[in-house]
Symmetry: C2
DNA sequence: GCCTCCATGTAACACGTTACATGATTCG
DNA sequence: CGAATCATGTAACGTGTTACATGGAGGC
């Protein structure tokens, strides 16, 4: 249940219309929680019905007419409660890593180009973040608590992109060494140890489970 | 459309039943593409109907009866085609970063504990990955292409966890310095520059848009 | 009048999550 | 037999994605 809270946060920062929110989600907020305009309108409706936000009275309630929303006290309370909530991190999801694992069993010739393409994209994103950091968080300026939180969030994005750039660079170098990809011979159904005889656990990537599990 | 391909990959590696897949998704595969047993059964049905997989004839087709699947040539072809597909990385999604941004506007007392809790979880995950690496990828062993791919995937997981551990440590230290969180005074509606006067863009985090966008 | 852009929406579908239902097997 | 466990599924709902619909305002 994060999208409504993302919207509430954005609206507390500044009352905005649906399309305005969409644009803000394409920039700073969407850097760690993306949303399309359809999701946003749908959610704005729910939030209004719940009494968390209301349309500013200045707007005419007609289709195609701009409508700005502001957060009501109940919405602010809800948001504050959510911040203090315990919520486990969701496991990572990367289609690229998945495709790499698939390439390990069926081969794949185009993966290398794809890695380089992703490297470019992440490098661009990293540059964008660094520009924002340089503009909004100059090193000398003694900043308020709220600004330091925002800076921490941005640094999270920066370091995440650095991780991708680093990993992709490594991966490309390592695949280059071996002379490409997909020329590694037929992987076969299962060349690993513990293949078909044991009906139990072994045979995958020999995963954890035995000694001293925390 | 990644889940069906994740399942195909798992089945190519080794024919498995629905519950077996579920367990494998809780371990190695799920480390970068998680799925519940309901999703898996639903998808197995679709894959079978599409002619990508079939139940091994040994199994009795009855409810509550174990049913193992294997990949058919069409499924293998589909998987190979997907590996060579171009697909943009999905933007990151982190509820924790979102909550931090929310905390910047409404305050929040429990966030610090939450950061420490997450730090513990990520540290544990990192240790688990490192154990797997030590067991499956000893440094001296000259490995085949497929193994090197799998190692790269695992290292992706390792470095991602290291990123989180590092960032969370930083964040906790920085919040500690200031003496907690939520004691930073009332953030108010908008203490930032460019608050209510300008109806346009400014006022958020001064995001990109002006000079030299790439 | 027509086209484009801004803005708000609807509809349909795919994917993910949670809760529950049903049958087989094993252990006591 | 009853309870626990393994295994396969259904149902309902919430969220995310894609395509399209509606309407106003400005330019030509």
């Amino acid at each position: 249940m994060s999208l409504p809270h993302a919207i509430l946060t954005a609206l507390v920062e500044k009352p905005t219309s649906g399309l305005g929110l969409t644009r803000r989600f394409d920039r700073s907020i969407g850097y760690f929680w993306s949303a399309t305009h359809q999701q946003i309108y749908r959610e704005l409706g729910k939030l209004e019905q719940a009494g968390y936000i209301r349309a500013l009275p200045s707007a005419v309630p007609a289709r195609g007419q701009k409508k700005e929303y502001e957060v009501l006290p109940a919405g602010r309370a809800e948001l504050a409660a959510w911040v203090d909530t315990a919520e486990d991190p969701k496991p990572m999801r990367s289609a690229l890593l998945l495709r790499m694992r698939a390439a390990a069993v069926v081969g794949g010739t185009g993966l290398r180009d794809e890695l380089e393409r992703h490297l470019g994209l992440h490098q661009r994103q990293l540059d964008e973040y660094l520009e924002i950091e340089a503009r909004d968080f100059p090193p000398d300026r003694r900043s308020a608590e709220a600004d330091r939180l925002r800076h921490l969030v941005l640094r999270g994005g920066i370091e995440l992109e650095r991780f991708w750039v680093h990993w992709l660079t490594q991966a490309i170098a390592e695949l280059g060494e071996a002379g490409g990809l997909g020329e590694a011979g037929e992987p076969g159904e299962a060349g690993e140890p513990g293949e078909a005889g044991e009906p139990g656990e072994a045979g995958e990537l020999r995963e954890a489970g035995g000694p001293g599990d925390g």
